[in-house]
């Protein structure tokens, strides 16, 4: 008897463990997110963003043996009590140009003030969801075909979350 897995919905999560004294300056990233949102500009390339992106690409290649290619990046700010709309990063009428993965990174968040809800179908058991908390310096990466949303910010501070979308080869 044999088994073949035809498709999987994998969730990658953890913390960004940079070398000592080389932590990502999340304040700088938060400032960039603020600038992008205030002035409606493209997210600026920065050394801090590059460190985050390179870390993720290197470690996914090391641990799981596939390479990530950048598609888009942006940051979001969530005010107190604010949640995101349901989000979906693939464009079902333009799958060729859609990403494979969504990567979310906790830039500056009040502790345990929100989580990410990822919706998925488990064959006949459709309409399921998985909640995973997101905190400072933590990341979550999942297939871009999954709808997700960021739960209401239960703190009285602004929450900053960075998104990067990737293709994989």
């Amino acid at each position: 008897m044999h088994k073949k897995v035809l498709s999987e919905i994998a969730l990658y999560h953890g913390t960004i463990d940079m070398p000592k004294y080389w932590d990502i300056d999340r304040e700088k990233l938060a400032q960039d997110i603020l600038t992008q949102n205030l002035f409606n500009k493209e997210f600026p390339f920065s050394r801090q963003w590059d460190m985050l992106n390179t870390y993720m690409r290197d470690h996914i290649n090391l641990e799981y043996g596939f390479s990530l290619i950048n598609k888009k990046t942006w940051g979001n700010i969530y005010k107190p009590k604010e949640a995101s709309l349901p989000l979906l990063q693939v464009d079902k009428v333009d799958l060729r140009n859609s990403p494979d993965f969504v990567f979310l990174y906790g830039v500056k968040l009040a502790k345990d003030s929100c989580f990410v809800r990822i919706h998925f179908d488990d064959n006949r058991r459709a309409g399921r969801s998985w909640d995973i908390p997101i905190n400072n310096n933590q990341f979550i990466m999942f297939p871009a075909t999954q709808m997700y949303y960021i739960s209401p910010n239960t703190s009285d501070q602004l929450n900053f979350i960075q998104t990067i979308t990737y293709e994989f080869i």
Partner: protein, 152 residues
């Protein structure tokens, strides 16, 4: 062209990059690993001490030219290898839990040594393609098992 391995926090190689030799020359015009490390830190946002030079022509503690005095750090680093600072060797992934380091040859070895030599008869049969004899490591039994992969 020089090669440098980028180390992760646990000493694992996460990337291997090439560097133009002119970018690692010191003030005296001599190639210096520390200069290369500084260059890579500046251009790759990763601390200098976590870039370790590796030799493309070294494998199993031997140099491809035959002159083993040129062998450098055991093996050419690859993604997933581990840097052993004490022995100055890049180790590939350990193939079996029980295997031990053979430092002089920069390779892993079973706890009972290498697989026995095939007999002349077995070699002849392999050459004639009637069999494909070889030894497989049996981790559970801690032994080398003779198998004919053509029939099994």
């Amino acid at each position: 062209m020089a090669h440098f391995a980028k180390l992760g926090a646990n000493g694992k190689v996460i990337q291997v990059l090439t560097l133009d030799n002119k970018d690692m020359l010191n003030a005296d015009g001599v190639e210096d690993e520390a200069v290369g490390q500084q260059y890579l830190e500046r251009h790759n946002n990763w601390p200098a001490q976590m870039w370790i030079q590796t030799s493309y022509n070294t494998s199993g503690g031997k140099h491809s030219s035959g002159d083993n005095t040129k062998a450098f750090r055991g093996n050419y680093a690859g993604i997933g290898y581990t840097w052993d600072e004490d022995d100055q060797i890049f180790w590939p992934k350990k193939p079996y839990a029980s295997w031990v380091k053979k430092i002089d040859e920069a390779r892993w070895q079973s706890p009972i040594g290498d697989a026995p030599e095939l007999t002349q008869e077995q070699k002849d049969q392999n050459t004639a393609l009637t069999h494909r004899w070889g030894y497989n490591w049996n981790e559970e039994g801690q032994s080398w098992d003779l198998v004919d992969s053509k029939t099994s």
